[in-house]
Amino acid sequence: MPVDVEARVIRNTRLSSDYNVIALAAPDIAAATAPGQFVMVKLGRGSTPLLRRPFSVFEVLRTNGHIEGLTLLSKRVGVTTQMLFDAVEGDVVSCLGPLGKPYTPVDPPTEAWMVAGGVGLAPFATLTEVLRAGGTSVTLFYGARTDRDLFYLDWFRDRGVRLVLATEDGSLGDHGRITKPLERELHKGAGGLQPSGAAAGDVMIYACGPEPMLEAVAHVAARYERPCEVSVERVMGCGLGGCYSCVIPVRDGPMGHHYVRSCLGGPVFAADQIAWEAH
């Protein structure tokens, strides 16, 4: 059951000129959140902005095992993300959640391959915690425009996550899109050369990022017959199933599809459920 919390800003850390991580005192939401779930936040007085905005829960903050709150990883693209960027300790952010369907964690010996594009990194911190607690080995494929937009690498390394990076300008990792190394490794795996020691097929792919990336990952996963879950990003008016703004076409037969509210039926979907050819 989602709750609405007037969450105090505990701290706000700028990662670059566009990215920040904001820590919010919303322990009840943090405690109830499963990896891939989101919150709807609202900042500011009056009606600019009018509507809440969806953000994945990034980290669950713990001090001596006690849950203190949660963080959001935010990229500055408009009015709310600008306010999240500018917020200072003590400010208040209205935070409603947790909402939506989470990722389905796998157990060993199946490996987890997480594919993140840009700010699509957000759900993978909590997913890593859950997977690593279960002993699952985790790889993060993480792509961005440039190396300056790749964050929290040490955080993931510290938790035993293997990193595969790509940048569009070639400044770090593969030069190009993150699906390039993903496909290469799947190819190696299919050829019997297990890059990380797992048996062929025992890989579950989790993706989050811009929709064309999700579509590309879904196609690659399908080609190599790997199960894949994607977290889609649709414009959300309410996050609770009230407005029908957030729909995505979901297959209901070989040819057909129907619109499903991604705030209730998602944001996480099995990649083969989505009718990518529609929109």
Binding site: M1, K42, C238, L240, G241, G242, C243, S245, Y259, A278
Partner: protein, 315 residues
């Protein structure tokens, strides 16, 4: 604190309080059952229903605008049969006062929907959506014509014992004449406003921000126009007026009631705050306490248009 009577009368229908969830802004009601006790609302106007299921428009379906939002959902919906089978029983169990918002492409569709819903258990009233601006076949042809409005209301009235509430569009020159046509046709009440036809363009791509090009404007931005329209309707007809458009606080709800609304609906604000309902009711109760008003129904249409006097308020 004296108990305050919050009940209001919408024709033959008694609502336990004047605060109703607006159609299309509260799903089928059941989506909100885990955050709101549906039995505490004056009523729940469910998402607009056609006879058949509908897919609605492709995304983008909404866009935010200054103090408002545009929507072009296109009345995606499960159709009346699945509604009765899958949603109505839970609404009944949760003791919601259910107002079913119905849409048709033809007069016969409205009549058929009314017939079917009259036989269902747990429907309190029918709201005729003759005002959706987003779809060509969405009754707007009825809603923008006085005879169209008259015909659809009287045809529906003939086949249903349920209270009938045509929902009026604000996209007309003289909304009060549509309230009058509704009254003449036997409507039990009118509700208004539906959204204002509007659009937004992304100047970088020069493309409309909504896939449907145009959509309906709702939210606080439109409130002053909606209040004026409720005021005009109240002065024109005797049947109750249900007011809406940008209500986001108890003060806003009271403004509509003072202008002439017997009850109000809340749409967009529910997206912003799904827990708004108890805040609205508390605020209304508090106002009644401060102004010593025993029955909220006594507020309706009490706007005072006589000239004001000056007072020396030490500031």
């Amino acid at each position: 604190m004296t108990t305050r009577d919050l009940s209001v009368q919408i024709g033959p229908l008694t609502l336990k309080n004047p605060v109703v969830a607006a159609s299309g802004c509260f799903g089928y009601g059941v989506e909100y059952a885990h955050v709101v006790d549906l039995s505490l609302l004056g009523g729940v106007a469910v998402k607009g229903l056609f006879l058949a299921p509908r897919e609605g428009h492709p995304p983008e379906r909404i866009v935010e605008t200054p103090a408002g939002m545009l929507n072009a959902i296109g009345l995606q919906g499960i159709g009346v049969d699945r509604f009765i089978r899958e949603k109505l029983p839970e609404l009944r169990d949760r003791r919601a006062t259910v107002i079913v918002n119905i849409c048709g492409s033809t007069l016969d569709e409205y009549v058929e929907l009314a017939r079917i819903l009259s036989d269902a258990d747990g429907v309190a009233a029918l709201e005729l959506n003759i005002s959706c601006p987003n779809i060509k076949e969405g009754g707007i042809t009825f809603g923008c014509s006085l005879t169209g409005t008259y015909d659809v209301v009287s045809a529906v009235k003939k086949v249903t014992p349920l209270p009938v509430i045509p929902k009026l569009t604000p996209n007309v020159t003289d909304v009060a004449s549509f309230a009058r046509a509704s009254e003449d046709a036997g409507a039990d009440a009118v509700s208004l406003v539906n959204t204002f036809l509007a659009m937004a363009i992304d100047v970088e791509t020069r493309r409309p921000k909504l896939s449907n090009i145009v959509g309906g404007l709702s939210g606080p931005a439109i409130r002053p126009i909606a209040v004026r329209m409720v005021y005009e309707c109240r002065r024109t007809v005797k049947i109750p007026v249900i007011g809406m458009g940008g209500i986001a606080s108890a003060t806003d709800a009271l403004e509509f009631m003072i202008a002439g609304a017997s009850a109000v609906q809340v749409g967009t604000a529910n997206f912003v705050d799904p827990f708004i309902w108890s805040k609205l009711l508390d605020g209304i109760r508090d106002y009644m306490q401060r102004h010593d008003i025993a029955r909220v129904a006594d507020l309706t249409g009490t706007i005072d248009t006589t000239a004001r006097e000056k007072e020396w308020i030490s500031s």
